[in-house]
């Protein structure tokens, strides 16, 4: 009787550990992409300054590109920042508690955070969907399609939610 159960717990644990590992890897991958986007945003500004002040030519796409690239970087890196405990929180009260009350408090806080991230993911995908199906553009002289600018937010918020689940599982383990 007990053997299958131990077995199933063990396999459940290994599934959980596997999930956490996958999420941790994804968090690092998106963080690398974010770092590249941040660097590209900086380079676009440098290119713009050079074109405008040194060559004296007109600049069209750079401010918008930088804005979207860096915004994308910020949102894509959120899972990594969550994983490394970079989102500031006040843990004085939960730290002072022990046992069950502490666990409940931590779990509640995590669930609040998770619901926020899920709401953001939902809203973001809806925005991507709208921007894509209705062919919205940014309405500027460069006028690129809007959806590629919003997509990183949807991806970032979704991975952030999944990462949050991983953090909850990690904390419970």
């Amino acid at each position: 009787m007990s053997q299958p159960m131990t077995h199933s717990i063990a396999s459940r644990n290994s599934v959980i550990a596997g999930y956490i590992r996958v999420m941790d890897t994804l968090a690092i991958v998106t963080a690398v992409i974010a770092a590249i986007l941040l660097a590209l945003g900086v380079l676009a500004v440098v290119q713009m300054v050079f074109t405008r002040y040194v060559l004296g030519e007109s600049t069209i796409w750079q401010t918008e590109f930088t804005t979207y690239a860096i915004t994308a970087a910020m949102l894509l890196a959120t899972p990594y920042v969550l994983k490394t405990g970079g989102h500031v929180a006040v843990t004085v009260l939960p730290d002072a508690l022990h046992g069950l009350p502490k666990r409940i408090m931590r779990l509640t806080a995590s669930l609040v955070g998770l619901s926020f991230c899920l709401a953001l993911a939902y809203g973001s995908w809806y925005y991507v969907y709208e921007a894509y199906t209705m062919a919205w553009t940014t309405g500027t002289v460069w006028n690129p399609p809007l959806w590629p600018a919003v997509l990183p937010m949807a991806v970032g918020a979704s991975l952030l939610s999944l990462q949050y689940v991983a953090e909850i599982l990690r904390g419970e383990a």
Binding site: R52, S58, W136, G139, V141, N143
Partner: protein, 309 residues
């Protein structure tokens, strides 16, 4: 219980800006009509940001707004025609435009999106610069200019200007910090945002106003249909008064701008017919052409506007 409609705009509140005055007037009229309707005004982007207002209106998150329609051109490229260089030229013609096939076509797009126009308003505007007076196209060469929408951006870029995009509320700071050498916006905004403190030369609309922008008062169809008939007609009556008020003020705004700028030691010039034509030639090769190519009924819209006497 009373119905409260939330009205949002980006202009300074209670400081005499004509668009703020229009909605204030409507709020007073509706209240006086005593039909259980109240307008709650959120000025100066205190609820939605300038460019978010259209989206909010379409979905019924926002009830009413006074909006530069071109701000929504990313969603409805047709709206670029409402800030197209040289398409209007004078206030008299703006009045005739309101009842033309051109405006019917624009309003069809507005209505199809789930929005209704309560009051029309075409604001004239001009250019201001702290580098060089903007008259003929070659005067913008090398200047970093702020333009209000893609059509003007493109024309100015072709004429040799650098473009920096921003809402009108940011022009003052950008001029102060030297990010901009010049800007173009409406007469109302030039005065409201005290741009005269930052520039040396103003190109007033005058006889040949290159710059006109459609900034109507809009209501969400969802909010409109929730009103009862008495409330609807009270709102329409108020809107009519606001529109009349605006029509009376419109030309005066340009004079007021010229006066205020002159009082503050700013040189005031206007475009000659030759300057105007030179700009129009550039615009036809750039913004008009792009518009006709990229917007499904773009050419038809331009033709309809130009057909107005």
């Amino acid at each position: 219980a009373d119905t409260t409609l939330r009205v949002s705009h980006q202009f300074p509140g209670g400081k005499g800006d004509v668009r703020d005055e229009m909605v204030q007037l409507m709020a007073r009229e509706v209240k006086a009509a005593d039909v259980g309707l109240e307008l709650q005004i959120y000025p100066g982007q205190s609820l939605f940001k300038a460019k978010e207002q259209w989206g909010a209106l379409v979905r019924g998150r926002l009830d009413m707004t006074s909006l530069p329609l071109d701000y929504a051109s990313g969603r409805h490229p047709e709206f670029s025609a409402t800030l197209m260089p040289g398409l209007v030229r004078s206030h008299e013609r703006a009045q005739r435009l309101n009842d033309s096939k051109f405006m019917d076509m624009i309003k069809t797009v507005i209505n199809d999106a789930g929005v209704r126009v309560l009051a029309d308003a075409w604001l004239a505007g001009g250019f201001a610069s702290n580098a060089q007076c903007v008259t003929s196209p070659d005067t913008v060469q090398g200047q970093t200019m702020r333009a209000a929408g893609p059509a003007f951006d493109e024309m100015l870029a072709v004429a040799g200007a650098s473009i920096a995009s921003m809402p009108s509320s940011e022009i003052y700071t950008a001029m102060q910090t030297g990010v901009l050498d010049g800007a173009n916006t409406s007469s109302g905004s030039f005065v409201s945002y005290r741009i005269y403190e930052q520039v040396t030369c103003l190109t007033a609309p005058g006889e040949n106003a290159l710059w006109f922008m459609y900034e109507p008062i809009l209501i969400s169809e969802q909010s409109w249909s929730k009103l009862n008939e008495v409330q609807q007609s009270a709102l329409m009556a108020a809107a009519e008064k606001a529109e009349t008020y605006f029509a009376k003020e419109a030309a005066g705004l340009d004079q007021k701008m010229a006066d205020v700028f002159a009082e503050n030691g700013v040189e005031v010039v206007s475009m000659s017919p030759e300057d105007y034509q030179a700009w129009l030639d550039i615009a036809k090769k750039s913004s008009y052409k792009t518009f006709a190519e990229n917007v499904p009924n773009g050419q038809a819209l331009i033709d309809a506007a130009l057909a107005v006497e």
